[in-house]
Amino acid sequence: MVTFNQVVPQPLEGIYNPQSQIWATELAVPSGHLVEVMSASGKGKSTFLQIIYGIRKDFKGICQVNGKDIRHYSPAEKAELRRTKVSIVFQDLRLFPHLTGWENLQVKNQLTGHKTEAEMRELTERLGVAFLLDKPCGIMSYGQQQRFAIIRALCQPFTLLMLDEPFSHLDRGNIELCCALLQEECKHQQAGLILTTLGESYPLPYDTRLTL
């Protein structure tokens, strides 16, 4: 459960869209809801996710995650939140370029112990990147890296999965594979999902669509 109360990020002050369903208004994202956030670039899609994830603090108003002001989370509580409740796929992916695909997944999974090695291998096979497991992420194409970032996000328990323009470099076929996988995982974990997009619609059964 995520609630926003009169939240305005400082860089968007005075220039945000008055019709925005997120900024300077009240917003509640109930647990288990699949939400699509759509807007042109520069409207604060990434900022929105990063506020919830506790990375950005340069905003007015109050953002609560699971009933607690995100600003009041201690470093240890934030780490716990990121290990067990909220998972994210960053727009810039943030993989370790010198680590192989497999090692990048292990960085997360060794922390959470959420998936078995067989399960992780199976996920890479489903998204067609199993042959890259031993390659450093730095030399992969962006689309291949996007799929590794998505799999890494799935290597932990979560009640909310956030994806920041995750399919920007994927073809239609791969997008469908990913969407099916995400839907399956969310259902399995009874988790919600927030996905941002520039306008393209993806085959996911959204409960809510928000515009910024």
Partner: protein, 398 residues
Amino acid sequence: MLSKVLLQQKSRARLFIAATGSLLGTLLLLTAIQLYFDITYLFTVKADDVISPSFLEVNKQVSMLNTLSVSSSSFSDEEIAEIRAQKFIRKVGVFTPTQFSMWLTGELSANLPKLQTDMFLEGLPDDMIDVQNNRWNWEPGQKEIPIIIPSYYLSLYNFAFAPSKGLPQITKGTVTRIPLTLEITDREGHRVYYKARVIDYSDRINTIMAPISFINWANKEYGREQEGKRPSRLLLEVDNPSNPRFAAFLEAKGYETSKDKLKGGKQMALLQVVLLVVGVVGVFIVILSVLVFVLTFQLLISRASEAIRLLIQLGHDYTTISRFFNRYFLRLFLGIQLIAFALVVLVKLLMYQLFTENALEVPAYPHWAMFLWGLLFTLAFSLSGVRAIHRTVRRLAD
């Protein structure tokens, strides 16, 4: 996996240089501490020195008033008791003077002039005398009195008096074979004759001695009470003549001793100042070298700061990461300290050889307190290093 992520940017060369600096700094500090203990040892324990500085003769300053017999230069019982009560004085020996006049004659051989001199004798408790000789005793009825003279009397004769007069030099053994005659004038003015013989030489005591048993007996037998009744010289056995409190005590009381033996105190003080300066410089070098080491680690951390931030964003606790760096830091740092401790034992061995070659006797093994100080430094630097690393990582967690 953490080390693969966090230590990807580490520079082995830089770490090696920082570690070497830290090693040398620690080694310097430990060596300075050990040197301090060695030199302190040299000045306090001089077990084999012939002229032991722990025995000192003390007398009152002689002034005009003494000469005019207005004030006395002898020690009262209260004064002796007060000296005895000082903590840094182990033993007090009283020089007992004879209370009668005497005359000494001796004939070395027919072609040498007859020795004849006014004479005095003093007695000291046997346990204060540095001569072991089984002829050193006297019992009433014994006809020959054993005498001990300072060894430098003989040197004075051999190297100063005899050459200037064209006289032959004589050995210690020769002197002990010269039969001497002691002529004592008793209370009634009668002359009593005793045989006497120099039996040994003392390096410690600056007087002509007869056994205390003879002095006491003769004073009773022949002595006139008014003459030299009270002792005017004392022999003190002190723990450490370099102790500044000892010098201060003597000065406050107006007592005199041979300055030469107190000079050790001044040299000690000078050396302590020099060592203190070396120690302070050493501490600074150690602080600098350890600082370089810690800074190298902070550079390592700041180079890995992106990776650290990302790990924290992926749900790693920052304490896990600071623990990782601290383990890495402690493994290296404590390893360096261990090597420094091992090397200081080696350095100590070399110093021991150097000291021994220069005829200075020091213990062959490092002083335990040096290790204790070293451990304290290691502990302090480990703690400050660990704290600095923890804070640096903590700053990346927000």
